[in-house]
């Protein structure tokens, strides 16, 4: 088991290194750099910029240097000093900008994952065990609606309804008075009273998908002879189902946890814009359009880290729940 984890950790480091190269290459890929975008914006506003000033800035940011040199400066800063560079647009170190945002992202999306599982598990089990019952059809219809409705539309509808019915707007994650406060009970309460909407919106599509996958897996497993064996022991039906087929049907679901986090982050961009959430998604979008390369690079890099950690977690979970994987790795 220990060897399994060590192997995984080594693979993780290598993957992250590859991700960093690709991330850096991608943010360098569009023609021009932050300064050209910046000058273009100024020009379109009617301002004139002195070419020598631009040249000086170019030297200062190191834009003229070859790719490898730039990459080395960037990566050695991250690994050596935890310094992700400066954001050109915000005129501030990237680190001060992203941690709060990324924290919000992980919190909201973690809650969404949690909501997905708690809603999908019982419904999926019910839909499989009572196949073709009214409840199964309702779950199927609900599932298809959940899959088909785009997140942002759902967010808009929810905002509209909550305004019409309750007279409140549900944008943002905190009320203004709690925006920069430290965590405290009232702040948690304030957060929860606002966070349910984005969590719900982000969780719908995933919940619907989980219900479908769980139902299909479980239908396969319910017919297996070991379920009959468990029944022949005299166990009550609910215990037969929860202990045996559900346990086996969970395996493929657990392996999806790995890519759930990054998918949520990237799919939540539009929802975050619509609901005005201070998460990482909108920041990434903004930094990419303005070619704010160090900020964008840091965010892409951290998404990579999330994916890799998520995969590791799901591998470990899988090895934990399925002995066939645990012993196969010896």
């Amino acid at each position: 088991m220990l060897r399994f984890i060590i192997n995984r950790l080594i693979a993780m480091v290598l993957t992250l290194w590859a991700v960093s190269v690709v991330a850096f290459a991608i943010i360098q890929l569009p023609p021009g750099d932050y300064l050209t975008t910046y000058v273009a914006t100024l020009n379109s506003n009617g301002d004139r910029v002195d070419p020598s000033t631009i040249e000086a800035l170019r030297q200062q940011y190191g834009f003229g240097e070859p790719f490898l040199v730039q990459y080395w400066k960037w990566i050695s800063g991250i690994v050596g000093r935890g310094d992700f560079g400066q954001s050109f647009e915000w005129k501030a170190p990237v680190t001060t900008l992203i941690w709060g945002r990324l924290g919000n992202s992980i919190l909201i999306e973690g809650l969404a994952v949690f909501a997905m599982w708690t809603i999908a598990l019982p419904i999926g089990i019910y839909a499989a065990v009572r196949k073709y019952s009214l409840g199964d059809y309702l779950a199927t219809i609900g599932g298809f609606i959940g899959l088909a409705v785009p997140n942002f539309l759902m967010a808009l509808v929810l905002m509209y309804l909550s305004f019409v019915w309750f007279g409140t707007t549900i944008g943002g994650l905190f009320s203004p008075e709690f925006e920069n406060a430290h965590w405290s009970l009232p702040r948690i309460w304030d957060f929860l009273s606002r966070a349910w909407a984005p969590v719900l919106v982000l969780a719908t599509a995933g919940t619907a998908e989980l219900i479908r996958i769980l139902r299909a897996n479980l239908l396969d497993e319910l017919k297996k002879p070991y379920v009959t064996t468990a029944r022949a022991k005299g166990l009550p039906e609910w215990k037969v189902i929860l202990k045996y087929p559900v346990r086996v049907a969970l395996n493929p679901l657990v392996s999806t946890i790995g890519w759930l986090l990054p998918t949520l982050v990237s799919s939540s961009v539009i929802v975050s814009v619509v609901l005005n959430l201070p998460t990482a998604g909108p920041l990434l979008l903004r930094s990419l359009t303005s070619q704010d390369m160090y900020l964008a690079g840091a965010l892409i890099m951290l998404l990579g880290v999330l994916t890799v950690i998520g995969t590791l977690v799901s591998d470990l979970l899988l090895a934990w729940i399925d002995p066939r994987i645990r012993y196969g790795s010896k």
């Binding site: 297996k224 002879p225 070991y226 009959t228 064996t229 468990a230 029944r231 022949a232 022991k233 005299g234 166990l235 009550p236 039906e237 202990k243 045996y244 346990r247 086996v248 729940i321 399925d322 002995p323 066939r324 012993y327």
Partner: protein
């Protein structure tokens, strides 16, 4: 050894039982019709027949393990609990009464030891659960019992093997573990649904020996399902031959083997290959035709379409149970009518 006296009082009596399967798109299919069986402590009844003849369905009906679309429209399954008989056919499959019989009084060994054991739980875990459920022992005591059981069924290194997963064991060991599980609560009746079909011949012989020895030790009744007449000769005291949902012949195994009365039983006997010298070899005579689907079954004797002796009453009229000799019964018109009339 706890030797239970060989009472002639049957432990389980199946009377006139039919089983139908309903389907939303088609007419109901009667998989088993009017079966009568009885099982006595210490004796083995072998239920023989080809695939799809309803032998497994009959066995599962005794534990009410059939799918939801199966119903038992008529007949009774009387089980002697010691405090009067219970009609299992009238119990709800998931009721407490049914569940307290399952495993504790009647338990079952399945055909595929690999897929019949959970792949994600250890052998010991699956047996412990059984003991804890019915005997309310602590997990530790249950494990002691499990190890003793595994040891008894001949699993080497039982204490370590209890912590193994099914995929870490060989087919023979898995079936031994399955048997240990079925015996965990010393049932009065053991149903073995083709327990040796998935095993090679050597292992098969070992498992049969083991089952026979355990039956002597515990004095339980056994319902043994198989399609292998060689296995029947090895384990059974009585035999019931099934064809397409009907029990066509039943009785003492020696009597039936020596003087098979039903044409289907006779045909089965003739299709068993025998080792002999080249000069003495005879061609095997296969049963002509194939088994019809239960939907096309003649309303009379099910074997009509393939029977070499079929005559006037066969297709429409169902033959009654006819006593051939003491305890030997067959359902065939040939027995009720004069042979001369039959051949005419």
């Amino acid at each position: 050894m706890p030797q239970i006296p060989m009472a002639d009082k049957p432990l389980l009596t199946v009377r006139n039982m039919s089983i139908s399967f309903s389907s939303p798109d088609e007419a109901d299919i009667e998989a088993v019709r009017q079966v009568d069986l009885s099982l006595t402590p210490g004796k083995t009844l072998a239920l023989v027949g080809e695939s799809g003849c309803g032998k497994s369905v009959t066995a599962r009906a005794v534990l009410r393990l059939l799918d939801k679309n199966a119903i038992i429209p008529s007949g009774e399954i009387l089980f002697d609990t010691g405090q009067g008989a219970v009609d299992i056919a009238r119990l709800k499959p998931d009721s407490l009464a049914m569940r307290s019989i399952r495993g504790a009084e009647i338990s079952m060994i399945f055909q595929e030891p690999m897929s019949s054991l959970s792949p994600v739980h250890t052998i010991g875990d699956q047996i412990d659960e059984f003991i804890i459920l019915h005997e309310r022992l602590s997990p530790k005591q249950a494990r002691e019992r499990t190890v003793a059981l595994l040891d008894q069924v001949g699993v080497p290194g039982a204490r370590d093997r209890a912590n193994a997963y099914p995929f870490e064991l060989s087919g023979g060991l898995r079936q031994r573990a399955m048997i240990a599980m079925a015996l965990a609560c010393t049932p009065k009746l053991l149903i073995a649904d083709e327990p040796t079909t998935a095993l090679d011949v050597t292992t098969q012989a070992q498992i049969l020996d083991l089952l026979r020895q355990l039956q002597d030790d515990y004095g339980m009744a056994m319902l043994f399902i198989t399609h292998d007449l060689g296995v029947v000769a090895e384990v059974a005291d009585e035999i019931a031959v099934m064809y397409l949902g009907d029990v066509v012949e039943q009785g003492d195994v020696y009597e039936v083997f020596r003087r098979p009365k039903h044409p289907y039983t006779q045909a089965l006997m003739n299709s068993v290959p025998r080792l002999s010298r080249k000069a003495d070899r005879k061609r095997l005579s296969p049963i002509k035709g194939t088994v019809p689907s239960p939907r096309d079954r003649p309303s009379g004797c099910a074997f009509t379409s393939r029977c070499p002796h079929a005559f006037a009453p066969c297709p429409a009229q169902r033959p009654e149970r006819t006593q051939v000799s003491a305890g030997h019964v067959a359902r065939c018109h040939l027995l009720a009518h004069e042979p001369a009339e039959a051949l005419a």
